[in-house]
């Protein structure tokens, strides 16, 4: 089953691994395969909209490619939406929801903000209102790893705390969507370096039966080895042996540099092998793919389109 046949793809990973970029590229790739897609950022972030030329953040999805929209969710917009659609509340009650004390209360209920935003996504997918776009797939730029799991567990906490009522029902629907391995998949983003890969490994091992199904691991920002295993047909070890006895400090400086890169590469390779093995053992259906490093200061929409082309066949080959 291709990742692109899901209804919801949650893109998770530690801060700084390029989660947002991968989420945008995945959405473009799904669009290129004919799916109607929305990529969603949370907590008012609108980096994708900005990257594709928007001047201001928009809660309403805006088109970024054929069949692909981007939206920026935040808890207040989602609460309003929920109030209007589900609670059918009048203007007076709506004003109360915006009351300062109520605001502080709503801020404080554990997990309510996450729940509101996930609830909006569930609603978009499962029961879009008249005049609202109908999406085959939502790609969610999930918060940094630690928080992602809390966020996914938050629906359960809310359901247990509330027992009855609209929020209880909402939590229930979100849980059903996240737990449904046919509808929801997880894409984990990491970097080709020892530490981020080890963190990804810990997450993979921590994913319990209740977590969404792991669909893919994306190793982002892969660059060619600075010191390859062979140079012009000569193994690096042979080159090293020729240099190591030279007493010249300049030569030793070059060698020290090369050693550092070789060590780093080995550490990353070892970690990646462990990750690949763990994924194979625990999540047999998941695929691993890599994205090339884009050596620019400021990523452009064209860069993301190029990355999307590398992802179009994600999960097909197996």
């Amino acid at each position: 089953m291709s990742v692109f046949s899901r209804r919801l793809l949650a893109v998770a990973g530690k801060g700084g691994v390029g989660r947002t970029t991968v989420a945008a590229a995945l959405a473009l790739a799904a669009g290129a395969r004919g799916r109607r897609v929305c990529v969603a950022e949370l907590y008012g972030a609108w980096r994708i909209q900005h990257l594709f030329g928007a001047r201001a953040r928009s809660y309403t999805p805006i088109p970024i490619a054929p069949r692909v929209d981007a939206m920026s969710l935040d808890a207040v917009d989602c609460l309003d939406d929920f109030g209007r659609k589900k609670l059918k509340i009048g203007a007076l009650v709506k004003a109360l929801l915006h009351n300062r004390v109520m605001g502080a209360f709503l801020d404080a209920v554990p997990g309510l903000h996450d729940l509101q935003q996930l609830g909006k996504i569930e609603n978009m997918l499962m029961e879009p209102g008249p005049g609202e776009p109908r999406y085959d797939l939502v790609v969610l730029d999930a918060p940094a790893t630690g928080h992602s799991l809390t966020m996914l567990a938050g629906a359960r906490a809310m359901r247990e705390m509330t027992v009855v009522g609209p929020f209880h029902d909402l939590a229930h629907r979100i849980e059903a969507l996240l737990d449904d391995h046919a509808r929801t998949g997880l894409v984990l983003v990491t970097l080709p370096e020892a530490l981020p890969v080890r963190e990804a490994l810990e997450l993979v091992e921590a994913l319990g039966p209740d977590a969404p199904l792991l669909d893919a691991i994306v190793v982002n920002q892969v660059r060619p080895a600075s010191v390859p295993a062979e140079i012009a047909g000569v193994p690096w070890e042979t080159v090293r042996a020729a240099l190591v006895t030279d007493p010249n400090p300049d030569v030793q400086a070059v060698l020290a540099t090369a050693d550092q890169f070789v060590l780093r590469q080995h550490a990353a390779d070892r970690a990646l092998t462990r990750l690949t093995n763990a994924v194979r053992a625990r999540h047999a259906a998941a695929t691993t793919c890599s994205l090339p490093s884009v050596d620019v200061d400021q990523l452009t929409a064209d860069d993301v389109r190029a990355l999307a082309r590398s992802l179009v066949h994600l999960g097909d080959a197996t």
């Binding site: 502080a104 509330t162 810990e202 600075s226 012009a232």
Partner: protein, 385 residues
């Protein structure tokens, strides 16, 4: 400046910083260094990388002190012991309720309350607050010469230093008082206007059971407030003591330097004793003082005897690229680190230390000792200059 005397006169080191910068490793390395110098040392950590936890023997301990076996280490001064504890917000929170609850009945009611049970687990901010609670407990015992605290990688890691009303968003005083007044008058049947509508609405939206749980929870918690406040003052005094030192840890990345900078301004604003800045994972380029052309020329000559000229040329070109890349990385790291230092030099006391990037994973005592050497066996720059 030598950091050894600094550590000798410090009784509590608090490490703050962004995630992924090696904060836990740094805290463990500082603690190990303290133990090696003959002090009874405890490192308190939250959610450490699992392999580090395993190597410290921490996996099966929640909120309990575990002694780390140093018998394999050479040169531990007499009296030196290393202990570690993994902080668990939930059990610390439970212990706190046990301590401040006015009666057994109230205590049991709080511990069984739905809202409390979820709050203690998922609550933003509870971890930091509980970390400060736990360390106060441990410090009050007086059994350790040195404590090292590893804080969670969040920007509000210092919020536990605010007034107890802000410790816990959930207990925001405005909400609390409104809620208590509202629910009290609702019980007495004297609720009017806004309160009535809001309570009706809350009940409709969240379910009456939840609102009842919440009201009960708030009423029970109100009685604990004074206990919280008193204890908070004692915790604050401990963090402001001159033998306490706050250290910010970062890596040479824009985002972690921004976080470090934020914490340094917080040290300044809250008048916390600033120990210094540690920049981890700095690329070191041993050739950076050399002239690239001559370095590569020497390499080419060195290879000339062993490899055919065409191969030697490819090798030199490749090594030249690697060397330039490392040089660029080292320069960029250095510029970021210096930028951070210059922003605070003269404003805060303390040290500025760079720790070179280690390509191998730091997950056992010998590699932690290496980190300690990088920290303490090379002179640090004073932040004042």
């Amino acid at each position: 400046m030598d950091l050894n005397p600094w550590l000798d006169r410090t009784k509590l080191v608090v490490c703050v910083g962004a995630g992924g910068v090696g904060k836990t490793t740094t805290a463990a390395a500082i603690a190990l260094r303290g133990a090696l110098s003959g002090r009874r040392t405890m490192v308190l950590t939250i959610d450490p990388a699992r392999r580090l936890a395993n190597s410290l023997g921490l996996d099966q301990f929640g909120n309990r002190e575990a002694r780390i076996d140093l018998s394999g280490m050479e040169g531990v001064k007499p009296g030196g012991e290393l202990w570690a504890m993994m902080l668990d917000a939930r059990s610390t929170f439970d212990a706190l309720i046990h301590r401040v609850a006015p009666s057994d009945e109230v205590r049991e009611r709080i511990l069984a309350n739905h809202v409390y049970r979820h709050m203690a687990d998922t609550f933003a901010g509870s971890q930091d607050y509980m970390a400060s609670e736990k360390i106060y407990d441990v410090a009050a015992l007086g059994t350790y010469d040195l404590l090292v605290l590893d804080t969670p990688p969040v920007k509000n890691a210092l919020d536990f230093l605010e007034s107890p009303g802000r410790l816990v968003n959930f207990l925001d005083e405005r909400v609390l008082s409104w809620f208590l007044d509202g629910s009290r008058s609702s019980r007495g049947g004297m609720m009017f206007g806004t309160s009535k509508v809001v309570f009706y609405l809350l009940g409709r939206v969240f379910g009456e059971q939840f609102i009842d749980d919440l009201s009960q929870f708030f009423r029970d918690f109100e009685g604990l407030y004074e206990g919280f406040r008193k204890r908070h003052q004692e915790v604050l005094d401990m963090f402001r003591a001159p033998t306490t030192q706050f250290v910010t840890v970062c890596a040479p990345s824009e985002s972690s330097v921004d976080v470090a900078s934020f914490f340094l301004s917080e040290f300044e604003r809250r008048a916390l004793p600033c120990g210094g800045i540690i920049v981890n994972q700095v690329h070191a380029c041993s050739g950076q003082t050399h002239d690239a052309e001559s370095v590569l020329g020497a390499t080419a000559r060195s290879l000339g005897g062993d490899l055919p000229p065409a191969v030697a040329a490819s090798v030199v070109a490749r090594l030249g690229m690697a060397h330039r890349r490392l040089h660029t990385l080292a320069m960029a790291d250095h510029a970021l680190a210096r930028g951070l230092k210059s922003r605070y030099s003269g404003r805060l006391p303390g040290f500025f230390q760079e720790v070179p990037r280690m390509e191998d994973e730091v997950h056992d005592l010998p590699s932690l000792r290496e980190v300690g050497r990088a920290l303490f066996d090379q002179d640090a720059a004073p932040l004042s200059s």
